[in-house]
């Protein structure tokens, strides 16, 4: 569902816009960057924010 929400937000953006996704450890952390790349988006950064929270920055 994390990537579903990501995809919906991406669809609202213009080409070149940046989306920052905060997510917890586990399956979404692997799935969101991988699915974004497969869909042709540019994953600029995957970084640890705090405790279990990670950040994925995607360029449309």
């Amino acid at each position: 569902m994390t990537f579903v929400k990501t995809k919906i937000q991406l669809s609202k953006l213009q080409k070149g816009d940046i989306l920052e996704v905060l997510l917890t450890e586990g399956e979404p952390l692997t799935n969101v960057p991988r699915s974004a790349r497969e869909q042709g988006y540019n994953v600029l950064e995957v970084s640890h924010v705090e405790w279990l929270i990670h950040k994925v920055i995607i360029e449309k």
Partner: protein, 170 residues
């Protein structure tokens, strides 16, 4: 040779197409339907959902219990069938208490609720269709359903639409 023929028959020609026959109006099975559908659509699948019988409850405009349909019996039946918000769980429904508990737990655990999944399906432009025969029996028409429902179809048209992809019955 026979084995290879069987294997080739089971391989979809269009691996990025998923069609779901949504028969059940149960809360948990609708969650499964919409989770699969939205997940597949998000990663680029063409997704078609064909709602029939109890599954039609998920796409009614009136999400609670309402006298929808034409004629006395369909209206009464429509009232008891209800809509998305009155969908029971398939086991341990406890007179409608369990769906409320599930919704509470889903929100608490930050998991998409059934209503959010349906909204996601709309946003991802999943192709939703209603079964022509079930509508006829239940005295319903396309205007009784959310406007995202693309059309009212029979079996043969659904088979054409789903051809080449994977099909699930939920």
């Amino acid at each position: 040779m026979e084995n290879s023929e069987i294997i080739s028959l089971s391989q979809p020609k269009d691996p990025k197409k998923l069609s779901i026959i949504s028969f059940s109006g149960d809360f948990d099975k609708l969650v499964a339907t919409f989770t699969l559908a939205t997940g597949a659509a998000a990663v680029g699948y063409e997704v078609n959902i064909f709602f029939t019988f109890w599954g039609l409850d998920a796409i009614k405009k009136k999400q609670g219990r309402a006298f929808v349909g034409t004629g006395f019996l369909p209206k009464i039946f429509g009232f008891f069938m209800g809509g998305l918000r009155s969908a029971p769980v398939s086991r341990l429904n406890f007179l409608g208490l369990s769906p409320k508990i599930f919704r509470y737990l889903m929100r608490k655990k930050n998991v998409a609720t059934l209503e959010e999944l349906v909204e996601a399906a709309k946003a991802l432009e999943i192709n939703m269709y209603a079964c022509e025969m079930a509508l006829h029996i239940l005295g319903l028409q396309q205007s009784d359903f959310i406007h995202e429902v693309k059309g009212v179809l029979g079996v043969t048209t659904f088979l054409e639409i789903s051809e080449g992809g994977r099909t699930l019955f939920i």
